[in-house]
């Protein structure tokens, strides 16, 4: 298939601002709609508020100003952190079953979901292992399986592969993309890697710091499935350059204007 047509908005943010108690403006004037089925990536330098924005969408923190609207009730959220955040005392399958257990899903149904989720991330053989027995990449896959097991309306990922080496990251990017192509869940992905953003996304959001704001948004309208060859194509380079320019332009934007009094 080619191209990508997004569905209606799952969640819509308008005029969102977030100011920390010490006066730092983490986010200002954020308007953003996340559409069903899209793979949306927030890219920007550290301090641009992209992680804060993700937490706002998740409901883990609250905006100082603005409105967050959802189409049909509160969406079910899956969250993947930068570190695997697995319970070290529990087996991998118990970790993946956690959100289902907390929602008091019947055991048999939960077990079936866990098996499916582990198979999706190629961890079926490690179901009975403890997290410490897995490599960093495998722990991250278990963390993704845990998020997918709950069949979220919205999958939020906060630099999930940021702590891995380049090879593991590229492999996991490829796996994640294959998974998304097959399942078409809605993703909001945070990264500071321009390559990762262009490779994964249907749409990218370039952000800048001080205050955290959106400087540009556009579709990465390139064919699917994307393979390693896409990384070497002129189109990829063009998107990467545009993203890099946007972030850099904005970077010098407001020198010294960091803190609102």
């Amino acid at each position: 298939m080619t191209g990508f047509v997004a569905g209606p908005a799952v969640i819509e943010l308008s005029g969102i601002a977030k100011t920390w108690p010490n006066g730092t403006r983490a986010l200002a004037g954020i308007d953003l709609a996340v559409r069903r089925g899209e793979f949306l990536t927030l890219v920007g330098p550290s301090g641009c508020g992209k992680s804060t924005l993700l937490k706002l969408i998740a409901g883990l923190t609250h905006a100082t100003a603005g409105r967050i609207a959802t189409s049909e009730g509160r969406p079910r959220i899956g969250f993947v952190f930068q570190s695997p955040t697995l319970m070290p005392w529990a087996r991998v399958d118990t970790n993946v079953r956690l959100p289902l257990d907390l929602a008091r899903m019947p055991r048999a149904r939960a077990d079936a979901r866990v098996a499916d989720a582990l198979a999706l991330v190629n961890l079926a053989a490690s179901a009975g292992s403890l997290p410490r027995e897995l490599s960093g990449g495998m722990q991250m896959r278990a963390s993704i399986a845990r998020a997918l097991a709950a069949e979220p309306d919205l999958l939020l990922m906060d630099e999930p592969f940021g702590a891995l080496d380049e090879f593991a990251r590229e492999r996991l990017d490829g796996e994640l993309l294959a998974l998304w192509s097959a399942q078409r869940f809605t993703v909001v992905f945070v990264t500071h890697s321009i390559q990762e953003a262009v490779f994964l996304s249907t749409r990218v959001v370039a952000m800048a710091a001080r205050p955290g704001r959106i400087v540009d948004t556009w579709e990465i309208d390139e064919p699917w499935p994307r393979s390693a060859a896409f990384r070497l194509s002129p189109a990829f380079a063009a998107h990467a350059q545009r993203l890099s320019l946007r972030v850099a332009e904005a970077g010098g934007g407001e020198p010294g204007g960091a803190v609102a009094q």
Partner: protein
């Protein structure tokens, strides 16, 4: 490191301190014999051992009494300490209001409270146990509270996103995460319970049916029966080591599979 190296390391851990002990005891024996030190000043290790055997009924009865007090106190300190920690972990307000009093209990020397406790509590055994609880409970409370508060913030967020109840978060996340901290507290408390029991016995100076090792030491001192004093000391030390080892074994059994503190090192 090879498996052989690991085994050699294990042997070393037993053999090296044992060798030090043997050398020290041999030197002690030799000095006492060569300089003819009288037994009422410093008895030789062999004499202490002979006293241990000849007075075994008296001494082991006393050991059982002291260990009984220490163990009862340890169990109560663990149950009450964990309960207090669970309450403290529920709210900063409760912790802030009550924690200073737990500290007060900890920093007040037991010798100064023990006479009061012994006057107030009629049953002597219960009074001894209470003194030992006062000494042993603090590390259980403070370590367990710290553990319950130290849950991975990412996991706490995850529980929130999944709509977990306070009870689910406590039981499925905070309690298992607090186990390593709790066992650290237990290890300290096991030694303190014995110290508390011995100190309380000293203060109470109790004889009769509940005569413990401290009483035997007091009595032997008055009778200038120094070898029996040493024998009783040896038993107290052995009981302390046994309690420490038992709590260590418990920690290993509970944490060996997953926690760093109990994982084998390979460097």
């Amino acid at each position: 490191m090879t498996a052989q190296g690991g085994r050699r390391g294990q042997w070393l851990r037993i053999v090296a301190p044992a060798a030090v002990g043997v050398v020290v005891l041999a030197a002690w024996q030799a000095l006492v014999v060569v300089y003819r030190v009288p037994a009422y000043l410093v008895p030789s290790p062999l004499l202490v051992l002979r006293t241990l055997v000849s007075d075994r009924v008296l001494l082991f009865h006393a050991l059982a009494s002291t260990l009984g007090v220490a163990l009862a106190a340890l169990v109560i300190a663990v149950v009450a300490g964990v309960a207090a920690a669970l309450v403290f972990a529920q709210s900063r307000w409760i912790e802030t209001s009550f924690f200073p009093y737990a500290i007060l209990l900890q920093v007040t020397p037991i010798v100064s409270i023990a006479p009061l406790i012994i006057i107030w509590v009629h049953d002597l055994w219960a009074a001894l146990v209470l003194c030992a609880v006062v000494v042993a409970i603090f590390p259980v409370i403070s370590n367990t509270t710290l553990g319950l508060r130290s849950a991975d913030p990412g996991l706490v967020d995850l529980f929130r996103l999944a709509g977990a109840s306070r009870w689910q978060t406590l039981w499925r996340l905070r309690v298992p995460g607090a186990l390593p901290y709790f066992f650290g507290g237990l290890r300290i408390a096991s030694g303190l319970a014995l110290i508390g029991a011995v100190v309380a016995e000293f203060v109470a100076g109790t004889g009769g049916a509940s005569a413990g090792l401290a009483y035997q030491i007091l009595l032997a001192g008055m009778q200038l029966n120094i070898p029996r004093m040493f024998a009783a000391l040896v038993l107290i030390a052995a009981a302390g080591v046994a309690l420490f080892a038992a709590s260590g074994a418990l920690a290993h059994a509970a944490l060996a599979r997953w926690h760093e503190s109990e994982l084998p090192r390979d460097s």
